[in-house]
């Protein structure tokens, strides 16, 4: 996720994929890290998806305190682009929104 205005699609796709038995991992980077603080559904997404993480450098660059961990996330999910790479390497399908 790089765009801040695609959250509803992430929720919709995640719910649909989970309903079909898929594993879903979501990574938020750059402007999309606003979703972690401003989208009311973000904590729910963290529960629905198998893994949710955000780029901590992007989060900081968007003006947030890296110690202000968004609801639904654990500190270890404030991650790096390595998480992004893991999705590309380990998952069958990759979608960029």
């Amino acid at each position: 996720m790089t765009n801040p205005d695609q959250f509803k699609h992430v929720m919709g796709i995640t719910k649909a994929a989970k309903a079909k038995g898929s594993n879903v991992k979501v990574f938020f980077t750059w402007d999309a890290t606003h979703n972690a603080k401003k989208e009311a559904g973000f904590p729910e997404l963290c529960k629905i998806a198998d893994d949710v993480s955000i780029c901590v450098d992007s989060y900081k660059n968007m003006g947030y305190d890296i110690d202000d961990i968004p609801e639904g996330l654990e500190a270890k999910k404030m991650a790096t682009q390595a998480q992004h790479g893991i999705i590309i390497e380990d998952y069958d399908c990759y979608l960029s929104l």
């Binding site: 699609h9 796709i13 649909a16 979608l95």
Partner: protein, 57 residues
């Protein structure tokens, strides 16, 4: 090789041209996210059915 083109907005002439280029001589499908209520279940099926997926702006 089957390509799925996902449109987040109405494709302009540039997008249409790029889609034409990348799908040339390949099977292609599309999905429009820029509607009031996208059928996400159908989208997931299309994603699994495709070899590659491109999200256009």
């Amino acid at each position: 090789m089957k390509i799925l083109n996902i449109y987040r907005s109405e494709p302009d002439d540039t997008t249409k041209k790029l889609v034409e280029i990348v799908t040339r001589d390949r099977d292609a499908d599309s999905f429009d996210l820029n509607v009031d209520a996208p059928d996400y279940s159908a989208l997931v099926d299309k994603i699994f059915d495709a070899d590659q997926t491109i999200c256009w702006w």
